[in-house]
Symmetry: C2
Subunit: 160 residues, 2 copies
DNA sequence: CGGTTTGTTCGGTATTGACCGAACAAACGA
DNA sequence: TCGTTTGTTCGGTCAATACCGAACAAACCG
């Protein structure tokens, strides 16, 4: 199996992962390719060629991915074409999306509690627990991200 | 709007949330209902009645949810029926699922790195970063769960 | 001006899978 | 043993949507 074929096999794995977390498979493949391509930035036609997807699918996938700030557009002086690369903060972005889910769950718990207003405390415990646990995690996550930010700098990942 | 209708509206919100994180909408509705129903445990026929879903959908949803340990089966002596309630550890269970995703991403990064073996360090950085950040979170998450476990006990949520 | 490159939008197709009703199964009680 | 309760499985339908090809749009160059 050629190095290129190995990359394509890898791209499929990444594609399936991201499909599993809510993106389309093509969008996932784009991310996968952008993680291992050479050079690390590509234009649409190159993605079409490499991934065997249609121009339209790539166009839509890139629109989605840039909208989510997982991929960023990129241009060079004297070159009218647009390149795409993985966004440098794509992973912290994903983490913040997770944090948003925690907030959503906490809010759902609060809404539920207001529905059970006046009912027996034992019946409300399931929601009190849900609220408190998500609130706890919601509070702790930012510190984790800060901690990682410091490590990131120490490791010399800043230019990423 | 009656209290019952308010609960049903709430159930829809919860249903949409869980649909968004990969369950079916019916399964999400079951969770929503089990969070606010009175009593907090229900049998299948009650879920069918309350949610207006078919017996088969409820049966499948409960099978899925118990398989994920988000809902647990429950029986009482002298009563041959089966009841269902939200699993007491459903939220820590969800967190561990998140941790598994971190591990998956770290592994994908490692696989990618092995593909770029020998390439320029600058080209490998995107994957080194992905690996290190996910590994960091993967390492920190268990401590968060432990910390919550202690708080949980202190708050008297243990019997949950 | 054509023509080329680059990219977006639109309509149609095909796949996926959630859901339901009905048939089936099993356990129990009269 | 028959009917009732409880629950699962199966087949089919319907809705959602990812994807593609083709038409369209815009920017640039000869």
């Amino acid at each position: 199996m050629s190095a290129h074929d190995k990359k394509l096999a890898y791209v499929e794995q990444v594609g399936l992962y991201f499909e599993g977390v809510g993106l389309t498979r093509v969008a996932g493949r784009v991310i996968g390719w952008l993680l291992v391509c050479d050079p690390p930035h590509q234009q649409q036609a190159e993605l079409v060629e490499a991934l065997g997807a249609s121009k339209s699918s790539i166009s839509v996938a890139l629109k989605d991915l840039t909208g989510l700030y997982l991929v960023e557009r990129f241009s060079r002086p004297g070159d009218r074409r647009t390149y795409y690369r993985t966004a440098k903060d794509m992973w912290s972005r994903s983490f913040r999306a997770r944090m948003h889910q925690l907030a959503e769950l906490r809010q759902l718990a609060e809404r539920g509690l207001s529905l059970l207003d006046g009912e027996a405390e034992v019946d409300r415990k399931r929601l009190l627990f849900m609220r408190d646990m998500n609130a706890f995690m919601e509070e702790r996550f930012p510190a984790l991200l800060d901690e990682w930010d410091a490590i990131k700098t120490a490791k010399g990942y800043d230019e990423l």
